[in-house]
Amino acid sequence: MTAIPKLLGADPLFADGIDLTVVLIVIGKTIAVFVFLLLLVLFYIWFLRKVIADMQNRVGPDNAGPFGILQALADGIKLFFKEQTIPDSADRRMFLLAPYLSLLPAFLAFSIIPIGGVVTIAGHQTYVQLADPQIGILFLLMMSGIGIYGVMLAGWSSGSKYPLLGSVRASAQLLSYEAALGLAIVAVLIQAGTFSTRGIVVQQAWTGSWSGGLGSWPLAQWFLWPTLIAFFIFLVAAVAETNHPPFDLVEAEQELVGGFHTEYSGIRFAIFFLAEFMNLVTMSAIAVTLFLGGPAGPSLGFVAANGWINAWVMPIFWFLAKLLVLLFGTVWIRASLPRLRYDQLMDIGWKYLIEVAFLFAMVSGVFVIARQQDWPVWVYFAAPAGAVAIYAVLYLCIPRRDEITEDIR
C-alpha cells in the first residue's frame, strides 16, 4: 500500500489509504486532465491561427463557431472521416503504431503538471494535478525521449525517402536539444532541491507577507530570476524540442515534402499534429512550472480564503494566464523568424546552448552551496568570472564556419 503513494507522489489523497472513492477520484482526474489538455490544444490551434493571421494582416478562421473557435474541431472531424492510406513499402505494424507512440508521451508528460492548488473532493484532499511523482522532472525527460521514437519510427517505417530523411533530422535535432534542455532544467533543480513539480511550485509561491524588501516582491520567489539565463536556454531548446518554427526542419516543406509524416493521411496524420501541439502546450506548462511559479498567484481577498473560488478557480486562472503568455510567445516566434539552416541549428545547439547551460548550472550550484555553507562573498564573483573565462576559451576554440570553408577551398 505504501508503494503506490510513492509512485503517485505526495498527494494527500492517499494519506488515509486507498478505497473506492480514492480510485474513482483518480480515474476522474485522469479523464479531466486529458480533456483539459485536449481543450488546451484545440484552443491553442485556434489561437495560433488567429494570432498568426493577425500578424500577417489576415482574418484567420472565422466560420466554424463564434470567431472560428471550433475550426480545429472541424478539421479533426474532417480528418477522422478521411481515407487512410498505407504505402506498400511500409512496415505496417510500425507504421500504425508510430502516431500513438508520439501521442502517448505527449499526454503522459502533461500528467505531472500542477494545474491548480489543493482542493477537497468528496471529503478527500487532493492536488489539482494528475500525478506528483518524486521523479517528476525526470519523468518529463523520459517522456520527451520516448516521443522521439514516434517521429523516428514514422519516418523509418514509411518506406519512403523523404520521411526517412525527415526522421533522421528529427532524431538528431531532438537529441541535440535534449541536452541543452536538460542542463537548463538542472539549474532550476539545483535551486529547488527537488524533482517533484509540486515541490518546485510550492517554493515559488508568494508567502503573502510584504516587508518592503526586494525579496518580498510578489514575483520575487519565481525561479525565473536566479535562473534567467537558463530560462532563455530552456525556451529555445523547448521550441526546438517540439519541432516548432524556426526549428521545424523535421517537416521542412521545401526540402522534405511533409517530413516524417509525408505518407500519413487521415486521423493518423491528425494525431501527429495533435501530439506536436500537445508537446508544445506541455513544454510551455513545464516552463510555467519551473520558472514562473505554476499556479501560484495572489488569491482574491474579498471572497472567503478557502472558498471554491480561491481553491479552484484562482490557481487555474493564474496557471492559464501564465501559459497563455508563453503560448503567445511561441506564436510570435513562429510568425517572425524564418527557418534555420540545418548547420545553423546544430551550431546553436552544440556550440552555444549546451556550453552556456552547463556553465550556468555549475555557477548556479556554487551559489546555492555558498549560501548554505556561508562561504565568503568573493565566491559569488569568482564563480561567474570563472565561467565567463571558461566560455571565452571555449568560444575561441569553436571552429567558425567561414574558417572551415576557407580550409576546404
Partner: protein, 232 residues
Amino acid sequence: MGRFAGFGITFKQMFKPRVTGFYPREKRPKPPRFHGRHVLNRYEDGMEKCIGCELCAGVCPAKCIYVRGADNPPDAPVSPGERYGFVYEINYLRCIHCDLCVEACPTEAITETKLFEFSFSNRDDAIYTKRELVVDDDGRARKQPWELWLDDSENDHTSEWMRATSPSGNAAYEGRVNWSGELGYGVREPERGQSGILRSATGMTAPAPAEPVGLIDEEAADEEAADEEAAH
C-alpha cells in the same frame, strides 16, 4: 538587434486594419466593363435578336461558339429578320471572355453580363445552349440552378459597354460610335477621347432597340451617370 526586428514588425501588424474580403458573404462591386457570361437578348416584344449570321462564331478566337441559323417559320417567327439562331451554344470551358463576339454581333443579340459564378461539376453543364443563354421575359439573364449569384442586383449595370462598330447596321452610322442600352440598363456617355455622339443628343433615331418601357432602372441609370461624372 537587427535580426530581431522581425518581432516588432509582426507585432505592429496586429493592430493594422485587415484587407481580407469576406467574398461569398460580402461581394465587392464589379468594374464597369466586367466580362461575365453571355446572354442572348430579345426585343421588348419578345422576339430574339439573334439572326443566326454566325459572325460571333467566326470571330471567336477560342472557337467556343457554335451557331446554326435557320429560316424563320413564316407563321411563328422567332426573330424579326429572315433567319434566326436555331442552335446557339457557348462552351465555357473554352471561352476566354474577350467580348469579340459582342463586338461582331450586328444586332446586339449577344452581350456579356457581369455574372461569373457559374462553376460546374459536369462537362456538359459547361456548354450553355439557348435554354440557358436567352434572357427571360423581363430582359434579364436567367439564373441557372448551379450559378451562385444571389439576386439580380449582382447583374446591375451590366455590359453597357462601348462598341466601336455601328450596332445598328445602318450605313448612316458607319464609322461613328453608337451606343445602346442593353437589357434596359441605360446608356453610357462616350469616354474621353472617343468621338462618339449620343443618339439622344443628336436626335438621330436608329433602328437599334429603343429602351424598353418599364425596364429602365432609373436609379441604376442615375448612378451610372454619377459614376461617369466622377470619372471625368
